[in-house]
Structure formats: structure tokens, C-alpha cells
């Protein structure tokens, strides 16, 4: 038996732009146990709902995380709209779907880049982000923001996208998809990438379910759960199915995301083809009363918003269960027994978003 040492991983660590701290108990280069300590980015955001107007809170909800930003505000708005029994215009629903699929592509591309960086494949990182940057241009053109969109509000969306802009965006997306296809090929076929991901960090199906994994982490272990199956917004009118992989290793989680990007391109095309004219927002009637859980699928997995209102303009309780929070227990499980050099890759394959997790 080797000597046990503890290697601190984070909070300031070049592999993760975000601070999370893991104490890795090591035997030589093998990780025996990983102990997390969190709270570096805890901002007490849930509590702020008690002080802010519920409509204003949509913009704070968007700032739970700057990567899943749009879907955060969309989920919050859907939860409030459920309390208000508010039917929002079809066009707004379609625009929300288009934007949330755009943010899924942008988030997954970002993830691909960071992962490539984690196993020392710098040029792949650069190229993933080069493609992502073009998508951000489209997001900026349609919504006005690059990472924080600021377009979702209770009762609909804040701005419409005219037909000409939408047409140009679709053209640009097609070009983008072709460029992305090359990168996806490297991730799924390159031998050195495979060597760093295949068979590493295996999460068996039973463990994934029992530990409460969500999103690509769950689907990479062969469970076909995707919250979009609840058919919120207009997902019920689009043709798609959850993407799963069976192996449960890093490679499987990566492949799920790679295929989901293609799926998102397709969903955007479908939505843009079906979108109808009309208003993009309705007036908000009164204040929310009652309680509701709204579930959505973020790039990182299922997110749950709990809202409880008492008829005043401040919510009584606002709670977000973000995908990364749910994926922490599975992460600790798959870190046990891995090599130190695999730690960054394994940590990244759950696509950790610490600012989501700690709020």
C-alpha cells in the first residue's frame, strides 16, 4: 500500500474556471476518495425572491448561471405562469424553444472545448470555441445578448425575431452544422481522445438511477429520461426522442452531448418551420398564489423550480434544484478509484456548473 496524500483540487484550478474544492485522498496516483467542499459561489439567490418583485426575479433567475442562462429564466417563468394559469402566445413558446436549443448547442460546444482542454488537446478546444463564437453571434442577433439573453419574461418574451432575421439565422446555422460535424468527428473517432475517455469513470445504470443523476450523465448510462418529454412549451409538437448511450463511461457522456447538438440543430429547424405569427407576450394578471414544481431540461440535465406564492408580489419560497447539484453524488462515486490524471476529465463529464449548484 502506498502512502496516502491529500491533493487539493481547486478552488482556484486552471482546469475548472469555477471554484469547487475537492480533497482528493490519493494513494500514489490513484484516488481513494474525493471529499467536496462547496459554497465558494453561494450567493443566497433563493432568498432574494422574498425581496424582489416576482417579475423582476426572472432576470435574477437568469443569473443563476451564465451558461444555462436562458433556460433558467424560462423555467422560472414557466413556474410562475403555471401558478397564474397563464396561457402564453404560441409564437413566444416557439421562440423560447429556439432560444433554449441555441443555448443547449452553445453550452455543449463550450463543454466539448473545456473537456478537450482538460486532456491537453488545445487545438480541439480552440476549434470548438471558434464554432461556438459563431453561434453566439446568432444569439446576439436574435436576442441582443451574448451569454445573458435577457429576453424571457413572465407572460412571454421581450422581443420578436422578424422573418428575415430568422431566415438568415437558419442559413448561418446550416453552415455552422457543417463545421461542427468535423469537430464531432474528432471527438468520436480520434484514438488519443478515445484512450482518455473510454472505460474511464464508469457509472452503471443502477447507480445512476439510485444516486439521482440527471441529464447527459443519466442518459450516458442508458436511461432515457429527458425532461423535454413532459412536452412543455412546444416540445410536444416537434419530432424528437431522448438520446442515450449504454456504456456509462466518459466517452458515452461525451457522445450523448455530441449527438444532442445535432438534435438541437434539427429542433431549431423544425421550430422555425412551424412558428406562426402573432404576439409574443401577454399581460400578467395579478400576483402568483399557490405552489408548483416546474421541470425543464437544461444542457446539464433536469432542473426543478419550486415556487410558492401567497398573492403578494413577492414569492414566499423560491427553490431551484439545478442539474449539477443532483450530479454531485454520482460524481463522487465515479471519482473513487480513478487515476489523478483522469480527475479533470471525469469531473468535466458531468458538466459541472458550480454557480448553478450553489446558487
Amino acid at each position: 500500500m502506498g502512502q496516502r496524500t491529500i491533493i487539493p483540487f481547486g478552488p482556484q484550478h486552471p482546469v475548472l474556471p469555477e471554484p469547487i474544492h475537492l480533497d482528493l485522498v490519493m494513494e500514489d496516483e490513484k484516488v481513494v476518495e474525493a471529499i467536496p467542499s462547496i459554497g465558494f459561489i453561494h450567493r443566497g439567490l433563493e432568498k432574494m425572491a422574498e425581496k424582489k418583485d416576482f417579475q423582476e426575479m426572472a432576470y435574477i433567475a437568469e443569473r443563476i448561471c451564465g451558461i444555462c442562462s436562458f433556460i433558467h429564466s424560462m423555467g422560472y417563468c414557466q413556474a410562475i405562469e403555471a401558478l397564474l394559469k397563464l396561457e402564453i402566445p404560441k409564437r413566444a413558446e416557439y421562440l423560447r424553444v429556439i432560444w433554449s436549443e441555441m443555448s443547449r448547442i452553445h453550452s455543449h460546444l463550450l463543454w466539448l472545448g473545456l473537456t478537450a482542454d482538460a486532456f491537453g488537446f488545445e487545438s480541439l478546444f480552440m476549434h470548438s470555441w471558434r464554432v461556438r463564437e459563431k453561434l453566439l453571434d446568432l444569439i446576439e442577433e436574435t436576442s441582443g445578448g451574448r451569454v445573458i439573453f435577457g429576453v424571457c419574461k413572465v407572460g412571454g418574451v421581450r422581443r420578436d425575431v422578424d422573418a428575415e432575421t430568422l431566415r438568415r439565422a437558419l442559413e448561418a446555422l446550416a453552415a455552422l452544422e457543417a463545421e461542427y460535424r468535423e469537430i464531432a468527428g474528432v471527438f468520436s473517432r480520434d484514438a488519443s481522445v478515445k484512450r482518455r475517455m473510454t472505460g474511464i469513470g464508469v457509472l452503471p445504470k443502477e447507480d445512476a438511477r439510485a444516486l439521482g443523476a440527471v441529464g447527459p450523465t443519466l442518459r450516458g448510462s442508458g436511461v432515457a429520461w429527458d425532461a423535454r418529454r413532459l412536452q412543455y412549451a412546444v416540445y410536444g409538437e416537434l419530432d424528437w426522442a431522448p438520446i442515450t448511450e449504454e456504456a456509462g463511461d466518459c466517452q458515452a457522456r461525451c457522445l450523448v452531448r455530441i449527438r444532442e447538438i445535432f438534435q438541437s440543430f434539427d429542433l431549431i429547424r423544425q421550430a422555425a418551420g412551424k412558428i406562426s405569427d402573432g404576439p409574443v407576450a401577454v399581460k400578467v394578471p395579478g400576483n402568483p398564489r399557490g405552489e408548483y414544481f416546474a421541470r425543464l431540461e437544461q444542457p446539464r440535465g433536469e432542473v426543478v423550480y419550486y415556487v410558492k406564492g401567497n398573492g403578494t408580489k413577492n414569492l414566499q419560497r423560491f427553490r431551484v434544484r439545478t442539474p449539477t447539484f443532483a450530479n454531485l453524488p454520482p460524481l463522487l462515486k465515479i471519482l473513487q478509484g480513478c487515476e489523478l490524471s483522469d480527475v479533470p476529465v471525469i469531473v468535466l463529464t458531468i458538466d459541472p456548473c458550480i454557480s448553478c449548484a450553489e446558487r
Binding site: K52, F293, Q316, R319, A326
Partner: protein
Amino acid sequence: MMIEEQFWETLDRAALPARVGTLAKEGWRLVQICGSCHEAFEILYSFDKDDRFLSLRVAFSKDDPVLPSITESYFGAFSYENEMQDLFGLKLTGLKLNFNGNFYRLAKKNPFLDTPPAVAPAPGGVSS
């Protein structure tokens, strides 16, 4: 607009571990645990099976902030339960992997125990 129908069950905290144990055996997935505290503690446990969304509601008095842990059935609950210990000052009994109130390090102890202000503060904000 409602997205999905939601099912509720209210039960006593003493009955919680047994009920959760049954759910675990039936293959339900733990979706989330949400604590709140206004007049009394109210903890909501949500589960999902075959797209059916079930929430258990456990309520008890503020004077007795003790709750049995469900980490026996769902190990993944440790993060939620540690969070509740920090934010609400609850005491979880039988918690596997207990950070003893140090999961988050906060500027203020148990910040969620405060009752919310009846009226919103003026714009510009008052820090608490």
C-alpha cells in the same frame, strides 16, 4: 399553464424513512428535496417514476428542528440534507456523510430561518 399533473402526499416525519424506503424499492428516482420555513418547517420530497411526479410533504414545528435522514434509501440525498442543515439549522439524524453544518460556509448562520418581510423593501435594496 400547467406542464404536468403533480401528486401530493402528506405524512408525519416519523413515517418518512419507511415510506421513502418503499419508494426506493419501487424504483422511484429522487428528484429533489426542498425545505421551507415560515410558520413551521415544511419539507418537500419529490420523486419521479414513469413520468409521474410525486411529492411528499412533511411538516413540523419550529421548536423541534429534527428530521430523520433518508440517505439510507437514497445516498444522493446527502447534499440536500446537508444544505438544509446549513440553511435552516435543521438536525438530520442518521445522515451518512455529514458535514455538520459546514457544507456551505455562510456569512450568516441559518439565513433561511428568517421570516420574509411582509412588504418588499424600497428599490435600491436593504441588505439583511
